[in-house]
Symmetry: C2
Subunit: 426 residues, 2 copies
């Protein structure tokens, strides 16, 4: 077979996947909540039952990844254990228990002519999910799309191909058990990387939105190349600003949590801004606390002067997402300087002010142009579960449609239902 | 100057416009409602005062368009009269009177850990508006963007260049009078068509969303080439389905209005679907009524048999947006066939069912995948004003962010404000 023929085969395969997703989406859009929830429950059970198969598939993926000399952090994300598989199944049960967003009335009003308007949630249609090594995204993303009435086209990393396929077989069993179309959740059945390009082009109009799940390289490629909308964040350069009126004990607790609870998540703080007004009282204790917790501190001259263990921050540090036990720290001249720094170097993801001054807090909330702005709380709350959304497919920093944690509601669109009794327009 | 230098000059000009819009957007995002409304009022007054200048500029545009042999319908859209200028000014006053969407709390909840969440409307940022011959879009679109706290970059048709510039001068006076940045509403100061391409590419990330206002050719180009989100509808192939349980008198009134009130708007009905169950009673009167109102009817065989004046519909008629006193008409075998026809040939814009059967009405509302679905009312209600939005920048058939009439609320995004008292994540 020539390369041209192979490419044409792939295009045909991908367009067929898109067309089948579009057809399945029509059924899903009208599926009752109970049927979707039954499918989710059956999927959870099928995953539990299939644990040995999933582990066997994952062992093959792991063996190949090791043979390829893959890095340890990658292997950790790829590896499945009985506990991780149970967590995946439990996640499906959680999604099953969420309220169905489809059909809920967002707004209702009646016009003077008697026309009754309703703005009602409906599914978006078809969601493409492109991910990397973590096989659990197969279940997590598939479940959230299904709950919101969307068909999903999943494309996992080639390294987790067998694991994702094994999980997908369990999802398919759950769909079948509930009488939902098998094409409601499809997985791209080839490792050919050109499949990603086809999805980014939209599969001939079949894909409504793409959600990338993975590292910065993947997200950057998706954002640059996608011809369809994308729900994503490229990075989370999250700031904690210790204001002039910050309580020191509160600041120590929140800064430690924001940076060190988990350093590898997008809501982890990467830069500490300290108001010059509290340098004398707050700087040394905060820096010492971070250093003693095992966090490297890269600071400006004032921060360096506070502790000999602080290393100099370079200009690049202010726009670096470490995702590690490292923090950049800078003294700023008041709230305006703090907001200006965040605007210049931040990623519009999540930023926090620590202060007992309500007016300063409200200014920060209003003026910092980020998806999530917090007062006196850890940036690590940037998470759909912590928002009460039950689950999330990711966090978006774009401003259209979805912003912040993307839960089932953000995976819906809406329509207007208008009920009259013969009204005509004048 | 070489062509390359000219292109580079244009690129520089457009990037500068984008950068200035982005800066103005930061001021606008925080501008109080009263200041924006004062600007809108001053803009309305400035337009009234500038009526002679606007008419003079328009006369020049009209003379050149006539010299170029431009069609009459185009000249009608281009022409300004004192009444049309007053309508523009009055439209600005209407927008000034609308509630300010910015800062309104869409949702608020508190989590068990005491964190208080608010989802609050904020502006999107920078809106690019690309339009054709109608100079009034300059004022209408500029005002709606301003009200929602967005900076606007307006690019009018080259034929209306002088008229749009004269209107824009009045808008600039209003902004200045209220102390808002002049860059809040910019107009592209060149007829060079490459400026449109630069806007569609997003001006280096400065444009958040593009709204095309004009004919199908413009919208199709924008949808195909834009690298930023677009709020638009390509066409409105709107259906009225006369169900088996439709009241004949109601149907006559609504069908007449849906088709003939104004034939050139996107919400005008283009196809009449008649249930086979009421062919004997409803078909002839409806067809005769349309013909007598001056509407050409293109029908399938059954419709042709109902009246000798009906001409045969071809396959192409079912997907044609006439925007004229022409309707295609077809007999369908029940509600499933009606919904299937709309799914196959429609444009997901606006569709109506006429019926006294509540269950049928609810099925149609649920299953027709259009931005607006109506029961027993004219499709010509597809309009932001009729929805109670006060004004609209257009109608969108996409499913993300904005769908249906795009009013000031749809020109906003949101952020999450989270207020705590030291919460850390477990």
């Amino acid at each position: 077979m020539t390369a041209v023929a192979a490419r044409s085969d792939l295009d045909g395969l991908m367009l067929d996947i898109g067309a089948r997703a579009r057809t399945a989406a029509k059924t899903l859009a009208l599926a009752p909540a109970a049927q979707k929830d039954a499918a989710l429950g059956a999927m959870a059970q099928a995953i539990r039952t299939a644990t040995p198969d999933i582990l066997a598939a994952n062992a093959e993926d792991m063996a190949q990844a090791r043979a390829n000399g893959t890095a340890g952090s990658f292997l950790d994300r790829l590896e499945l254990t009985p506990a991780r598989i149970e967590a995946m199944a439990a996640g499906l049960d959680v999604v099953a228990g969420l309220p169905d967003p489809v059909g809920s009335v967002i707004a209702a009003w009646t016009r003077p002519n008697g026309l009754a308007f309703e703005r009602v949630r409906v599914p978006i249609g078809v969601v493409g999910v492109i991910y990397e090594s973590r096989p659990n995204v197969t279940a997590d993303a598939g479940a959230l799309c299904l709950k919101a009435g969307n068909a999903a086209i999943l494309r996992g990393g080639s390294e987790s191909f067998r694991s994702a396929a094994a999980i997908h077989r369990a999802l398919a069993q759950g769909l079948k058990a509930a009488g939902l179309p098998a094409d409601a959740i499809q997985i791209v059945p080839t490792r050919d990387r050109a499949a990603v390009g086809a999805m980014l082009a939209g599969l001939g109009g079949a894909i409504d939105v793409i959600v990338p799940r993975g590292g910065k390289g993947l997200v950057a490629r998706v954002q640059a190349e996608a011809r369809v909308p994308v729900f994503a964040h490229l990075e989370g350069i999250c700031h904690v600003y210790v204001h002039a009126a910050a309580d020191l004990e509160l600041a120590k607790n929140v800064v430690l949590n924001a940076k060190m609870r988990r350093t590898g998540i997008c809501g982890a703080a990467e830069t500490l801004l300290i108001d010059r007004a509290v340098v004398a009282t707050h700087l040394k204790p905060l820096v010492a606390m971070l250093l003693e917790a095992g966090c490297a501190v890269r600071g400006d001259e004032t921060v360096q002067a506070a502790d000999p263990r602080v290393t100099p921050a370079t200009e690049a540090d202010w726009s670096t997402e470490y995702l590690d036990a490292i923090i950049s720290a800078k003294v700023v001249d008041g709230i305006d300087a703090a907001i200006a720094h965040i605007e210049r170097y931040g990623s519009h993801h999540t930023d926090a002010i620590l202060t007992e001054d309500a007016a300063a807090a409200e200014r920060f909330l209003a003026e910092v142009d980020s998806a999530i702005v917090l007062v006196n709380a850890s940036t690590q709350f940037a998470d759909g579960g912590e928002f009460g959304f039950g689950a999330e497919i990711g966090i978006a920093t774009g401003k259209l449609h979805a912003r912040g944690p993307v839960g089932v509601e953000q995976l819906t669109s809406f329509k207007y239902k208008v009920r009259g009794h013969g009204q005509t327009r004048a």
